[in-house]
Structure formats: C-alpha cells, structure tokens
C-alpha cells in the first residue's frame, strides 16, 4: 500500500505563491523534484506588512504559472502526478481561496485526487521530508504569522504545547523594523542592525516568563520598543544609527531569551510523554542566527537534538504541502470538489483556543 507517490503541492496562504512536485513513500523518504516560489515582498514593501487584497490579487494570477514551472522543472506532466495537495487554511482567505480553486480546476481537468492540507501541518512535517525525522518530535513554528510548539506524533496527529496569545515574532520584527525606518521584510533588517548594537542598553521586558507555561506574547515587547524610540526622538529629534542598532539588539535579545526559555519548558513538557527527542524548527524567523543559536543551546541543554531544515524549506513553499498531502492521503483519503478554504484551522482541535477565540473559533 505504501507505494511511491508523486504529488503536486500548491501554497498561497500568505505572501508567497508556490508550487512544487515531491515524490516519495508515506512513512519513507521524500524527494523534491521541483519547488517554485514566487515571492511578493516588493508588492508589500511600501506598506510595511502584507496587504491581504494585494496578496490575493497576485496569487490569483500567479498560481497556474508557478504550477506550470514546477511541472516543467520536474520534467513531468500532470499525467505523471498521483494527486494534488493544496493549502486549504489557515491563512489570508483571498489567497487560500485562489489556491484551492486553482487546485480544484487542475484536479478536475486531470482527473486526479485532491487533498486539502493544513498549512501548519506542512511546516510541521517538513523535517520528515528533509531528514526523515521519526515521530514523535517537538516542533517550534516561528514565522510572520504563527508561533507555536507542537508535539508531532503522526502525519495528522499534533498536540499543541503552547503558542502566542497575540502577535507572532515575525510580525513583531516587521513592526519594529517599520517603526525604526528599516525596510520590509523586517527580520533580516533588524538582525543586520542588531549586529552592531548593544543589547544591554535598553531593558526590554521578557513577556510571560513569569508564567510556567509555553505561551508567548510579543505585543507588549513591541510597545516597549516604541516607547524607548519615542523617548530618544523627543530628546534628539531623531534616532542615531547607534540608537537604532541598540534598539534592534535589545529587541532581538529579548525575543531570543524568551523563545529559548519557553523552548526549555516545551522540551521538558514533551519529554514527560516521550523522553528527550529532537526539536525541529520551521518558519522564516528560524533564519535569525541569534535566535537559532539560542534555540540550539536550549534544546541541547535539555538533551534534545536540534534540526532546522534549509531556509527555503523553512519559509512558505509548495514542497511541504505536497509532502504533507503525501503523508496524509493514505490516512484520510482525498477531499471532494466541495473542499472549502478555511481562514481559521487549528492543527490541534482539542487544544483551547489562544487566538481569535470568538464565535468563529480558534485561528490556528
């Protein structure tokens, strides 16, 4: 039953339009035959963050082009593909809908099975695609839109151990960059500035360290950076290059320390059930060298291995969606043509909602 499958994966839940072809065996190894990512950073740069309608407009006109290129680079046609996987949520709904509809058109026309994949499960299963990591393992998703610890116990079995109660760290990096007149995306810019800064100059808070759980909050930290900036601007009429570097360094240090400490706690919580295993990371924020060093140290201190997939597979891509579809297809079968797009779709349905816990349910 575990025969080799070839899946096409589509991703369009934020500001990257992506398609990829992956071949592999469920439970075995995977091979990426092609992975095309068409980023939109230049479209959103003036706004200092992703504008949903601008993103949706770009996705709708780029998805089929990405699919075409992915097939071409893999040297395959749709006739060589066994199934089509697509991100069906959570994410910016305009992009997710475009992806789901494009995938349905592809599947209907080619007579192929379709499987809607949770974007977060794509990130969470990436260490199996890249390194064949065995279940169970501990996952930290840390990106512009998400921040959570997951115990990954199977292709469709995730237990959330903690997460952010407000902003995601990537979002905080973007907002800090914006308030300090740095470019977008903010992560690389803040990291670059911070390298020349004094992290000890500003005493920024370490949010939620007083709570014993694995949850995060980054909203207050962002406000603290803004207040410090405003004090300097009021005094000098602007920021010196050194002021800016120090603000960046202090902010980055605070994020790294909080994430490292919460990671230690998540490792302990995970180890209670499974013993020490491996901590894997995903998401664009995992590219930050200071944060990565802190995470490595925290994991190793708890007796865990540390695994970070290559950056191009840490950020949004189609290969992770194809792979998640490949691992999940045998478990729950394909979706039908009434597949919908879900702006909110928590991976761990049993966990209490942390974000958007209103009438519409938890966000992620």
């Amino acid at each position: 039953m575990d025969r080799t499958l070839t899946l096409l994966g589509l991703e369009s839940s934020c500001d990257d339009t992506a398609a990829a072809v992956v071949r592999g065996r469920p439970g075995g190894a995977g091979e990426i035959l092609s992975s095309v990512v068409s980023g939109q950073a230049e479209l959103h740069a003036d706004f200092g963050g992703v504008v949903p309608e601008i993103a949706a407009r770009a996705h709708a006109e780029r998805l089929d082009l990405c699919v075409e290129r992915a097939l071409e680079e893999a040297g395959l046609s749709l006739a060589d593909v066994d199934a089509i996987a697509v991100t069906a949520g959570p994410g910016l709904i305009g992009g997710v809908v475009s992806g789901v509809m494009c995938a349905k058109g592809l599947a209907a026309g080619a007579g192929l099975p379709l499987i809607g994949v949770n974007h977060l499960s794509g990130h969470a299963l990436t260490p199996r695609l890249t390194d064949g990591l065995a279940y169970p393992y501990l996952m930290l998703l840390v990106s512009g839109g998400h921040c959570q610890f997951l115990a990954v116990e199977g292709p469709d079995s995730f237990r959330r151990l903690g997460g952010t109660i407000d902003d995601a760290p990537g979002e905080a990096f973007d907002k800090v960059a914006k308030m300090l007149a740095l470019g977008y995306p903010g992560g690389p810019a803040v990291e670059r500035e911070a390298a020349a800064g004094d992290a000890a100059r500003f005493a920024f808070p370490r949010p939620l360290l007083d709570r014993p759980d694995c949850d995060f909050s980054f909203s207050g930290l962002k406000t603290a950076v803004r207040r410090a900036r405003d004090r300097i601007v009021a005094e000098k009429g602007g920021l010196t290059v050194q002021d800016r570097a120090d603000l960046c360094a202090g902010f980055q240090q605070a994020v790294a320390e909080v994430v490292a400490e919460k990671t230690r706690r998540a490792c302990r919580l995970f180890a209670q059930a499974h013993g020490p295993r491996t901590l894997a990371v995903a998401g664009g924020v995992a590219a930050n060298a200071v944060l990565r060093a802190a995470l490595t140290g925290a994991a190793e201190g708890e007796g865990f291995g540390f695994l970070a997939p290559p950056l191009r597979l840490c950020t949004d891509n189609g290969a992770m969606i194809a792979w998640a579809g490949l691992e999940q297809l045998g478990l729950r079968g394909p979706d039908d043509m009434a597949l919908g797009a879900r702006p909110r779709w928590p991976l761990d349905a049993a966990a209490a909602a942390m974000l958007g816990s209103g009438r519409k349910g938890a966000k992620a």
Binding site: C102, K104, T240
Partner: protein, 218 residues
C-alpha cells in the same frame, strides 16, 4: 464536418453561482443559483452537474469562458483561479469575458451597462457607438455626461438612470445570463487569448503607513 465545439462558461462575480454549456450555437444546459456565500464550495460540483446534464465530461470541452468581473473581488478570483487551473489541466483555452459586456450582449446598441460597485458607486461601460473603457463612477456623474442617440441602459439602477437620461431601460439585474458569457467566449474561441485576469476597476484597499518613520541622525 468537424464536431461542434463544446464550451463551458461560469460566473461567481456576485451573489450567485452560474454556468452554461454550449455545443456550437446550441445551449445544452444553463444554471444560475443565487447564493450570498459558499461559491467556492459550490462551483465545481455545479459545473460537473451542468456537464452531466449536457451529456459531456471535462475532456470533451474545446474551451472555457469565465466572467472576469467587475464585481466581488473574491468571487471573481474564485472563477478566474478555477478557469486557469482547468485550462492548464485540460490544455484548452480559458477566455475571460467582462461582466459588463455580458450584460450588454444581445441588446440593440448603443448600450450602457451598469454593475453595482457598492458604496453608491457603479461600474459602467458603453458598448456600440462611441464604445468606452470600463470604469468605476456613480449615477450623478453618468447623468451629467453626453450620451449617443437611442441609448439603452441595462444593469444596476438602469431604470432610474435611463429616466434621467431620457434613454430606454432594459433590465435591472446586473447578473449576466451565463448563456451570454458562453456565447461571447465561443465567438472568441480560436483567437489568441491572454490568460483570464480579474477586471477589478477598483484599487486594492491598502493604506500607506500613517506614521512617518523617525529621522535617522548621523
């Protein structure tokens, strides 16, 4: 004689899900289902039902017609993304058709077609004599402009505007018949067609940062 080409056209640019299937000039099936939401879930099943009603399957199609708006942004993208996916998998062209053009289809010219653009605005385009580009405007602006003799106004608010212009009104609905979309697309089958792209006519809702970044001192 080659068989008559089979063409499937569809539209989710407003509160409906609509599709029509043509075999050459012959209409095999047409459906319009009003719905405020759920078009993304309904569209493909509806298309498969329309195909089945016409005794056809996906591989039988010679081409696709898709309504590119103007209208509800997400609704337009639902159809356009589907059409582009189908076009790629079937290896058949997808032909984008304007909702305004479909509204004017079959009416004696000149025709002013109107689509509700919300917030007291209208999407408008003149067809026939002195044909204009589609644009977003409002009834007062249109009423103040000069129009050709024998004008027919159709679509959202057509009766009221026609009365102000001394023109003839033909229909208040701004939802085109899917058959009109299909016939317009069929007429273009075989001509080189760019991939269908939404006709938005309204810029994306995006505010530039209100706060000025701090001055960076040397």
């Amino acid at each position: 004689m080659p068989p008559e080409p089979l063409l499937l056209a569809f539209d989710t640019s407003a509160a409906h899900c609509a599709a029509a299937l043509l075999c050459g000039e012959r209409l095999l099936a047409a459906r319009t289902e009003p719905m405020a939401r759920g078009q993304a879930e309904r569209l493909l099943p509806l298309l498969e039902e329309v195909l089945a009603e016409g005794g056809a399957g996906w591989p039988d199609l010679a081409g696709l017609g898709v309504c590119i708006g103007p209208g509800n942004f997400t609704g337009v993208r639902i159809s356009v993304a589907t059409a582009r996916g189908l076009s790629l998998s079937l290896g058949r062209p997808a032909i984008g058709v304007s909702r305004l053009e479909a509204l004017a289809f079959g009416l004696p010219g000149p025709v002013l077609a109107l689509v509700d653009a919300r917030q007291e605005r209208l999407y408008a385009q003149l067809f026939g004599a002195g044909e204009s580009a589609p644009r977003m405007t409002d009834a007062d602006t249109l009423a103040a402009e000069a129009w050709p003799e024998g004008l027919t106004v159709t679509g959202a608010g057509a009766a009221a505007l026609a009365a102000r212009l001394g023109a003839r009104a033909a229909g208040e609905s701004d939802a085109p018949a899917p058959e009109a979309l299909a016939r317009l697309a069929l007429a273009r089958l075989g001509q080189p067609a760019p991939r269908p792209a939404p006709l938005y006519l309204r810029p994306a809702d995006a505010a530039l940062p209100s706060e000025k970044p701090p001055a960076i001192l040397p």
